[in-house]
Symmetry: D2
Subunit: 377 residues, 4 copies
């Protein structure tokens, strides 16, 4: 099977996200890194792309150049990953979709709801894939959770409780560090800090596993370090289609938590727990029964959990291979096997609608807000 | 040192709480079980008390008889534990206090705020001890947490996140079981279900460790099993004196959680985590440092953590000895050594004010409510 | 039910073990502390006993005096606990048994095999109970493990792996501290250090759960701190009746382990794991199935696990109540309900035979030794 | 930087190990998969290689053909991975080394000590790299452990306790399954079953972290399923250079353990614990201090731990990327940056010497054996 051709916008030298995408795309030998506009400094980007093995004529100075050239090539890239600063996601994603490319966009897909709706419309019109990198959803045991819920193994889902909290911005003496400060500055981060940065992963997961969408929410935001304009801690209560109650806590001042993303799903006939720091186990309790540990790689898992695991039971697989799983699903989708677990533009849009609803609610002392994008109301 | 004399109202044959108090009072040899009105069926109570070793003339048929007789005795009991059904706590506690007895009342101390304020006034006027059995606060490592916070080891407390969730009422096919059903029936349980039953332990703990009181709150209640009138799941956001942000989740439908009471305390210079299912460890992370495990019994603990532990490091001590620690503090207090960790009538009152504020908030879609008892506003 | 009368030899002021026994005997209100010879300093012992509430005429100066007086009393104690220094256990236990008292002896029951056999003979001849305080065996979930094995739920037991390791003697700069040093000095500790101190608990547990006895063993001893004459680390391989393979590691220089006593039992159709630092859970895996967490207090436990638990599921019970469970079984046994889980003089003897076999094996480079007491060969 | 050229012998369609090596070599974009003799069925191997993207003229029918052709090419592969059945490792590895290729050989490197010594000699004479795939040693936190020990942070290492136990061969009803049976059949597996299969990983790790070599050992083997000729459970006590005491348990009948590879290292001034099922944490306790959790990605780690981690703190990295780390070190070594953590032919030889010593010891009832290869005595 010949490799698919892959290009990236952003992810230049020194970025954290570039290596993650390169590993994700190449780990399973599915994609060849064929083109890139990796840096806003044109020459630096061209040179770095070539050092990474991209041919000189596809090592572009900017994304416009890349778009213009690639769309005319017979061997144009099959997929473009957009890993640029957040404020540029909309424009680049839209342009590549309109030119007929498949796109994987980093989160957040856009900065507001209107742009999100536009991407959904453009993606639909283009007939191309527009995926968003909610990569936690591609862990095998998250797929197992989703498959169990969809197979009715937990009955109707009553309640979802999810947290995404860390303490890495908890040091007030480090709050003016530019690497930290921009996240709480509306001029740079937009309307929300911690909720938009981490919370939306947790909210996406609630929908991803349950199959229900978020309909309304109430939020309580706090800036526990006084100099911050945006929230560094948030609690969001929500209600989902089907009546599921949701509770989501996210924080960046929870000193001692490293990357505390976990989710608990409680249904009529059982409960599940998954945590991103121990991603290879899923904890399951049938109502009236004992808690069981479901292991990645054990016999009898649902198909998606099997398919997205590479090594046998109790050999841990981690975050980079969750990203790689997104690329596995993309490769399949590009080749014509639709993968219903792949997060899409619609997911990106729903996140943005939730962010704006949460910000509005927090400003109004927790008044409940419609969290659905207007186009889905 | 001669034992103190102890009496109990309630806790008759077959109750769960009676044995816990008997063990708590007697484990350390501090109290002699001298008197009791153990059952609302007078003869059964008298007989059971005598089987437990109480002399016939102090094995009473009801609490009124016990009160009348004991107050006239030279060797009257030094402490009365009130372990009767919730609706009777107020009346009995008040009567014994007014007669000059020290009282340990089971939680909830009263059914409403007005009665709570009355107990606070009566206790103050009597000059006697009125304690409430928030026994989780007496675990050695909870005392260590409190002492660390009070010594400033975490700096100002920014955020407290606490959960008290279990799944034992999650089986809808068991919801009509009378043992379960009464908890969600306003006629029997009052204004609140799960929050009043478990949530107030968590809310007390937030105040107990931080030293701050709850000032206002916003609540989201859910009855995830449709037949229930009262909530089986609740989220409460709150603000404390000193500006601490609080978040409290409590549930009885969290299938797979057994007794998930835990608390995380995040300050300017560190974070703590304690969980009731592993009560002998306290997890501590200094800002910028590594997570450490503080063990009951290790060298250098704060005085209260040392004092309330009986066996050496890594020999677990559990729930019954946390109850016993309440009795240790009571014995000291009765003998004149005030123990500032002992939960008091004021704590019982504050819980009731929080319950009513939460119920009001939940009814008004989460509108924030003053959570302070009127007498402390 | 009137309380049984209980006396103790040893356990004077400042000892660790005295309070553990007092709590164990009194926690459930089964025993009244009626007599004691608590200290080798006669006056100190008498005074302390009286401060603990013992009548002056039963606050004895030494055990001979206690024996002489008690055996003539109509209200003689029903049980004598021997909690004196190891070298005196044999003499005192034997004397009380011969005078017709029930005895609970601290471990090790004797200092050598011959004395152990003598106690077994004397106990048998007396018709009285001679128990040895292998208290870990009285945890509810250990009883559950034993009951599961005996009910055949794991099939034939192939393999037992147990550890009892801590690091509290790992600091070489503290090695001359008298509190530590005596344990590795043959003049004071006898033929074995860490194996005799902790290892025999683990070896007893292997027999206790499996119902098999240790037949032969091979030992590797090490003194990792050079100044020590006796071992501070030992590995013992053994074979049990029924063909079970055993592996036991014990250490006092395992820095970072607090009280690492755990046991894994592997049979034809399942495996179990129990750990003393989390004693309220038993981890069970049926062959070909998922790992399950069995909780103290859950429905459907075996009778012994139910009987020896005081509070409901997920309320931890710890070490002091395991000791109390020994006293519960003793009270039943004294009243005529034989409790087959109660560790006996035979267990004490088998431990001593294992210690001597291990010492001999270690001296002969691991040559296998018969580990059975001569009287059971 | 142009990619290095990489070839593989073995790892054909359906093998588990082939994909692991392909991912390991390609994940970081360091190697291009340029040549292969992937299957003992020549045509199947050629076809599969081409489906994986190898050019037709480098898709070989057998390793001899590959060797003959590659050694004459200007663009010959920079590295050959040998992932064939165990009995062929020696011959293939030797041939490629002698022809001047760098080799990564799967474990066990050879079937006996004599062959192992031959590989060491050939590798030395060739001046080429001969690495062996002890991939667990390449986890970042294992490298951190090694660096801490080497920096003296634990003082002299007194004791190492390591386990590699699972229960996947514990079902006697499955024992005749050919996939399981060959491992316990001397005709197919050689002189040792579980110890040679898993135990040598643990023994290598003891040397890898401590820097000490195994000098002598005593083994106890058991075949707990009667039909097995080779051991399915083994305990090995050993002594290392520098006086370190070692204890190693390995089992394949430990039902409920999945992949229980862990190691504890105890020195004069601290202890460490690492477990392969939670590979991103290292548990550290300084003598007299509290247990700390060292996280992959935290500030201040040793260089090797930093270098071999791809994503930030608390994003787990798992087994496939540990294999990739071996390839990272190989790429560096090929380019001239020697990596002292890379496991070499000497490690492969020492493992074989330990296997033969353990087999001999087990046959002689645990008599201690010299475990050093003759050439290093």
């Amino acid at each position: 099977m010949t490799k698919l051709k892959w290009g990236m916008v952003g992810g230049g030298e020194g970025s954290q996200i570039g290596p993650a995408h390169r590993l994700g795309a190449q780990a399973d030998g599915l994609f060849e890194f064929a083109a890139g506009a990796l840096d806003h400094r044109a020459e630096a980007g061209r040179a770095y792309a070539q050092r990474l093995g991209i041919a000189a004529d596809r090592a572009y100075g900017d994304w416009q150049e890349m778009l213009a050239d690639e769309k005319g090539r017979a061997d144009r890239v099959d997929l473009v990953t957009v890993a640029t600063p957040n404020s540029t996601h909309f424009e680049i994603t839209k342009a590549f979709l309109e030119a007929g490319f498949n796109v994987l966009c980093e989160k957040p897909m856009t900065l507001n709801v209107e742009e999100g709706e536009e991407i959904v419309r453009v993606a639909k019109a283009s007939g191309k894939i527009c995926a968003v990198n909610y990569c936690y959803s591609a862990y095998p045991m998250v797929r197992q959770a989703r498959a169990m819920v969809r197979a009715g193994e937990l009955g109707k889902i009553r309640l979802i409780v999810t947290n995404f909290s860390h303490g890495h911005h908890g040091d007030a003496t480090d709050a003016d560090n530019p690497r930290v400060r921009w996240r709480y500055d509306p001029a740079m981060a937009g309307v929300s800090g911690q909720f938009a940065d981490c919370g939306i992963h947790a909210m996406h997961m609630a929908s991803f596993i349950s199959g229900n969408t978020v309909e309304k929410l109430s939020a309580d935001f706090a800036s526990t370090i006084a100099s911050r304009q945006l929230e560094d801690d948030a609690m969001v209560n929500f209600r989902m289609s089907g009546g599921t109650v949701g509770r989501l806590w996210t924080s960046s001042v929870a000193i001692g938590r490293q990357h505390g993303f976990d989710i608990q799903v409680f249904g009529e006939t059982g409960g599940l727990r998954w945590a991103s720091e121990q991603p290879n186990q899923l904890i399951y309790t049938p109502v009236g029964g004992r808690t069981q540990i479901i292991e990645k790689g054990e016999g009898g898992l649902h198909e998606d959990a099997k398919r997205l695991s590479r090594v046998s039971i109790a050999h841990p697989e981690g975050f980079p291979l969750a990203v790689a799983n997104i690329y596995c699903d993309l490769a399949d989708a590009i080749r014509g096997t639709a993968r219903d677990g792949l997060p899409t533009a619609e997911d990106g849009l729903r996140s943005m609608a939730a962010v704006y609803a949460a910000v509005a609610s927090a400003k109004e002392d927790g008044a409940w807000q419609d969290a659905r994008p207007p186009m889905f109301r």
